[in-house]
């Protein structure tokens, strides 16, 4: 099994979710995060004093899938999350040793 971890723009969450639904991936977990990379921050003024904001809001989508689905899922996410502008985000793939469904104690792929 593989964990797909996508860091995307907050506005693209629903598009990505829909794209994953379409290819039969319905389990996922979403976290609000802040990120930095090629895309930089901006400056704000409060009573004239300058504050620089370096960390931009992103959303992390995590979904654990079976190895065979990886390319399909990556393609779906890229298709839905991409705007072509800097800041579109990244996808990271990492190995998952085992999974457990708490409700039933099913293990591995059955648990997804």
């Amino acid at each position: 099994m593989v964990k797909v971890e996508a860091l995307i723009r907050p506005q693209r969450v629903d598009e990505v979710k829909a794209a994953l639904d379409e290819i039969g991936i319905s389990g996922m977990t979403i976290t609000e995060v802040r990120g930095t990379g090629k895309q930089k921050g901006y400056t704000q003024h409060y009573r004239g004093a300058e504050y620089t904001v370096n960390l931009l809001q992103k959303v992390k989508i995590e979904t654990v899938i079976s190895d065979t689905d990886v390319e399909k899922v990556v393609a779906a996410i890229v298709g839905a999350a991409r705007t072509g502008e800097i800041g579109d985000g990244k996808i990271f793939l990492s190995p998952i040793i085992d999974a457990v469904r708490i409700r039933t104690e099913e293990r591995a792929e059955n648990a997804l």
């Binding site: 930089k40 901006y42 931009l56 809001q57 705007t83």
Partner: protein, 487 residues
């Protein structure tokens, strides 16, 4: 007291017809509508005296101030519950603005203030019949403001009183049951109590018991009812896994500020004129609140080593409660004592809660009932006839008046306690049997906002957070171009 016993029974039997009553209300309303056309004309004929513009201005403002106390209470309570119940907590106050208003103008004002028995008003003012723009006389005193103004000033008291109860039953009561409860409680507990204390020919008024702005009518009555209802409802499901701390204390502090502000209308407005007596009431109200807040903070400083914001707010409200019955009868130094002592008493009462094991969520009993009792009795200790000549009962115990006033005050306290407790048991029992009064365990876990109102208090990215995209005019990076396909 036998006649009091009678009235309770009479009302009790009427209770069985709760639903009938509500329907009757609508009938009254219709009837009243017809009379409505005639009323002002008749009134114009009478026109006893032109209202005093200064007094009228002050009571108009006071009515607005007391109305604002209900949103203030909503915030005071709302900040203390968990975020998943904030809207329900707020709505329990706001809905009273709607429900009690309808009851008050159709029949409530008449039951409370019209001539009738010593225990309940008659039907003279049903549908606001005869309540016009002219001045009028109440219990022998010529009131210098329009009757309608007096009527709606009193309405604001009727609105906030049942809303006070909501603090005790927070986070677990069915909203529909709550709405019916406050409607029936207003009719069966508030109206008789208000009539006895302030109404034309009321029992406690004639007895000479003093309650300037509602220590018995508002605070003891709602405080005891809150306790009883909280016990009947049972404890919240507060498993240890949840963060039970107040979700937004700044909200509670704003609420405290609005309550304090509005309370000037509540207490000083109760002089029903803009003069020295209103000034005295205003002054002692502020002093008692200030001292009670300070005392609470000092207690915490000693006991917990840290003075808390919630403690100050709780103390301030307790001080406002305690001075309410006394404010038109006592002087500034009495106000200091009343404020200091109420914080000691309320702090103690709240501490006891743990021992008895009932779940009075936001301590309505500890603050309002205990504070109200102390205030009512303190009036019997500190009252000075030199402050208010309308007090014909006599000075308080500490000003040489002996036990006369104090014992009458005690009678008022007992009546309020009994009336509130009995009516709450009756109404809640009926509602429990008919429809259930408690949210299901699921609903409670998911939060009452979602399950009673289908809403959430706060939505969207963590409180608005940092929007993505480049700032305008000050960008450090490439601006995000949102392509057309993004629509």
């Amino acid at each position: 007291m036998s006649s009091f016993g009678k009235i309770v029974v009479r009302i009790g039997s009427r209770q069985a017809m709760g639903w009938t009553l509500l329907i009757t209300l609508l009938t009254f309303a219709t009837a009243a509508f017809a009379q409505d056309a005639a009323a002002p004309a008749a009134a114009a004929a009478a026109e006893p005296a032109k209202p005093d513009t200064g007094d009228t201005a002050w009571i108009l403002v006071s009515a607005a101030l007391v109305l604002l106390m209900t949103p203030g209470l909503a915030l005071f309570y709302g900040g203390m519950v968990r975020g998943k119940n904030v809207l329900n907590m707020l709505m329990q106050s706001f809905i009273a603005m709607s429900v009690i208003t309808v009851i008050w103008i159709t029949i409530g004002y008449s039951l409370a203030f019209a001539p009738g028995s010593p225990f309940l008003g008659g039907m003279d003012y049903v549908g606001l019949n005869g309540v016009g723009q002219e001045t009028f006389t109440l219990n022998g005193t010529a009131i210098t403001i329009p009757h309608q103004v007096f009527m709606f000033y009193q309405m604001m008291f009727a609105i906030i009183t049942p809303a006070l109860i909501s603090g005790a039953i927070a986070e677990r009561m069915k909203f529909s049951a709550y709405v019916l409860f406050i409607a029936l409680w207003s009719l069966l507990a508030y109206m008789p109590m208000a009539h006895m204390v302030w109404g034309e020919g009321g029992y406690l008024f004639k007895l000479g018991a003093l309650d300037f702005a509602g220590g018995t009518v508002v605070h003891i009555l709602s405080g005891i009812s809150a306790l009883v209802l909280a016990i009947m409802l049972g404890k919240r499901r507060t498993e240890r896994s949840e963060d039970l701390r107040p979700h937004n204390l700044p909200m509670t502090l704003v609420g405290t500020g609005l309550l304090w502000f509005g309370w000037f209308g509540f207490n000083a407005g109760s002089a029903i004129a803009a003069g020295g007596l209103a000034g005295n009431a205003f002054m002692v109200t502020h002093i008692a609140a200030a001292v009670a807040g300070l005392t609470w903070v000092l207690i915490e400083w000693i006991v917990l080593k840290q003075p808390t914001a919630l403690g100050w707010a709780t103390g301030a409200v307790a001080g406002l409660v305690a001075i309410t019955p006394a404010c038109g009868f006592v002087g500034p130094m009495a106000a200091i004592v009343i404020g200091a002592v109420v914080s000691l008493l309320s702090y103690g009462a709240i501490k006891m809660k743990g021992r008895f094991g009932y779940d009075d969520t936001l301590d309505v009993f500890g603050v309002h009932c205990v504070g109200g009792i102390w205030g009512a009795l303190a009036t019997g200790l500190f009252a000075q006839q030199s402050i208010n000549a309308a007090n014909t009962t006599g000075n308080g115990l500490f000003y040489g008046g002996g036990m006369t006033l104090l014992s009458k005050q005690a009678i008022g306290v007992v009546i309020a306690l009994v009336l509130g407790a009995v009516m709450t048991v009756i109404i809640a029992s009926i509602l429990k049997a008919v429809m259930g009064i408690r949210a299901t365990a699921d609903e409670e876990d998911a939060g009452l906002d979602l399950t009673q109102h289908g809403e959430v208090g706060y939505a969207g990215p963590a409180s608005g957070g940092e929007p993505i995209g480049a700032g305008h005019g000050a960008s450090h990076g490439t601006p995000v171009l949102q392509p057309e396909t993004a629509r």
